[in-house]
Amino acid sequence: MEGSSYQIDLGNLMAYDPNHHFQSIPSSRGELANHCLEKGTEMVQAIANSLFSLPSTESRDGPVVKLPLPTTKLPREKHLPKPKPPTKWEEFAKMKGIKKRKKNKRVWDEQTSSWKRTHGYDRANDDRDIPILDAKSTDEVGVDPFAKRSAEKKERVKKQEKNRLENLKKAAKAGALPSHIQLAATALPITGTKKDVPKKASKDELESVAGMAATSTASGGKFDKKLPGEKPPKHSGKHRKFLPVVEGKGIGSKEKQQTEKILNQLLSKSSHEILDVNKAVTMFNVKKEKQRKKDKDANPGKSGKLKPNKKSFKKTSTKKKP
């Protein structure tokens, strides 16, 4: 039996026996369990000895002892909190030597002659509750002083918000952002997944959607006010060409042209001509132009390099037999 040579960590209520080893592991489970229980009992007794000899205080649930700090070091789960950098006001106050003053929860309100709270709903000396403002010599004639006061207040609030954002950005840079605040344009909402973040629509998407919305109006979006930068709609105007109702006697020239066009198209499909003269002529001309251009380019800037034999992948004009 090893004496009290166990390593005891009272802070963690742990005992460790470094001197035990099995010569032979007992074959049956029950024997092994009993052996371990015996050893365990000894060690637990050792812990209890030191535990119960600590100075204890009586509380209603029983004796309470003050445990020492644990000796085995275990890793933290989160990093140590970083100290917050001082805000702009704090720096200014430190420089000037301004100390914080304790404010009362209730302040005397002159107007209603009662005690009202300092901040919040129905506060004392509220800027908005002043019924009468004396006109000063510096005031202009048409200016509403109440509106001016509320505008000034809005400005102050905006400035304060801007300063708060700056302070938070400074804190975020130092890694000391308060835990309940998030700072980002595209931060995920505090609870939620990636699906909840709405996707930004692209420029083309917006244009097409605007166009669709415009055409769904009664006048087809013709008289809608366009925003600055919005392009005029494409394909404006008629999509169908209607021939004039009256145009001289019998079949008019326009109608004749239309029917001729249709006939030609129909006939050309069923024609057995191998060569389309017009197309052949244009192709020949185009080829000639290209060759002329190439010669022009090649001659003035003759390089010693070998030029690769460019193979054109264009389909030839041979028409397949129907």
Binding site: G11, N12, L13, M14, A15, Y16, D17, P18, N19, H20, H21, F22, I25, L32, A33, C36, L37, K39, G40, T41, M43, V44, Q45, I47, A48, N49, L51, F52, S53, S56, S59, D61, G62, P63, V64, V65, K66, L67, T72, K73, L74, P75, R76, E77, K78, H79, L80, P81, L165, L168, P178, S179, H180, I181, Q182, L183, A184, A185, A187, I190
Partner: protein, 307 residues
């Protein structure tokens, strides 16, 4: 840039609970499993959850893309750890190569800190033990630990496993302990260089002659053999960072407080080498033109030297 702050005080309190603090909260455990589990492993996970009822979260879905030991397979775990604010996790899976596999892991700042993979053998569940129900340990009581075996010190894997088990079952770190509330003990015996036997027992305090009661162990809880398969220790830098303790107030040097003089300190002035000091060129005795000429010459000399 926008400030996103919680709109209710309750949400703010919840977020503040999850913030990093000097003295930390209890470590919560996340219990989940992979695509395939065995009956044994299922009962192991449920009993682990029962042991740690107050501060554990149990997921019931199968997670096929969690592979703790591979580089890509940890992202899901880290995400869950972040969402549930759990820094300990127990991941169970079963395969032919690794039957009844249990990965116990810890996170630091919601990134994987270290892992121990153990195989569970000879598992006996809580129901198979018969004992007087009055002795059953209460949920949330602080356990005692007994580690038996020299292998816990000599073998790397078992050393790591000991630390992980201590972290898992320790519970809250308290300063004041009610002595009537100690009613459970975890006994871990090293059977070989790779196996340990973990037993969970209830404590019975018996009257003895002195004020220190006699301890009696009654096996109640799950008992299992854990075979260490793989383990991953934390990297040096991560270990150093995680083990940092809050700064103790630095000793300010060179400040003594005297009753008569008050707060005193010593100022040390280096020796003035009067012979080597260069004379200034702004000699007031000279007439102005000569003085300026001397100054200009000096500055011109310096300019040519620097070029």
């Amino acid at each position: 840039m926008q400030i996103r702050a919680p709109k209710t005080k309750r949400a703010k309190r919840e977020l503040d609970k999850r913030a990093p603090k000097l003295v930390e909260n209890v470590k919560k455990t996340l219990i989940l499993h992979g695509t395939k589990t065995s009956a044994v492993l299922n009962s192991v996970l449920t009993e682990l959850y029962h042991l740690k009822r107050d501060n554990a979260v149990k997921f019931s879905k199968k997670n096929e893309n969690i592979k703790p030991f591979e580089t890509g397979g940890e992202t899901s775990l880290e995400f869950f750890s972040h969402k549930t604010d759990c820094s300990l996790f127990a991941f169970g899976s079963h395969s032919k190569k690794r039957p009844n596999n249990l990965v116990l892991g810890r996170t630091y700042d919601h990134h994987i800190y270290d892992l121990v993979e153990v195989g569970v053998e000879n598992f006996k569940s809580i129901e198979s033990f018969e004992y007087d129900k009055k002795l059953a340990p209460k949920i949330g009581s602080k356990p005692l630990f007994a580690f038996i075996g020299e292998e816990f010190e000599s073998v790397d894997e078992l050393k790591h496993l000991k630390e992980v088990l201590l972290d898992f079952f320790r519970g809250e770190v308290v300063e004041n302990l009610n002595l009537t509330g100690v009613d459970r003990v975890f006994v871990c015996t090293a059977l070989s260089s790779k196996t340990i036997l973990l037993m969970h027992c209830a404590l019975r305090l018996k009257k003895s002659g002195t004020s220190i009661p006699r301890m009696e162990l009654v096996e109640v809880g799950p008992s299992m053999n854990l075979v260490v398969r793989r383990h991953r220790l934390p990297s040096e830098s991560l270990l150093k960072e995680a083990m940092k303790t809050p700064d103790h107030a630095k000793k300010i040097k060179n400040v003594t407080s005297d009753v008569i003089k008050g707060k005193t300190g010593r100022i040390y002035i280096p020796d003035q080498k009067v012979g080597d000091m260069p004379l200034s060129n702004n000699i007031k005795g000279l007439k102005r033109e000569r003085r300026e000429a001397k100054q200009n010459k000096e500055s011109k000399k310096r300019k040519t030297e620097s070029e």
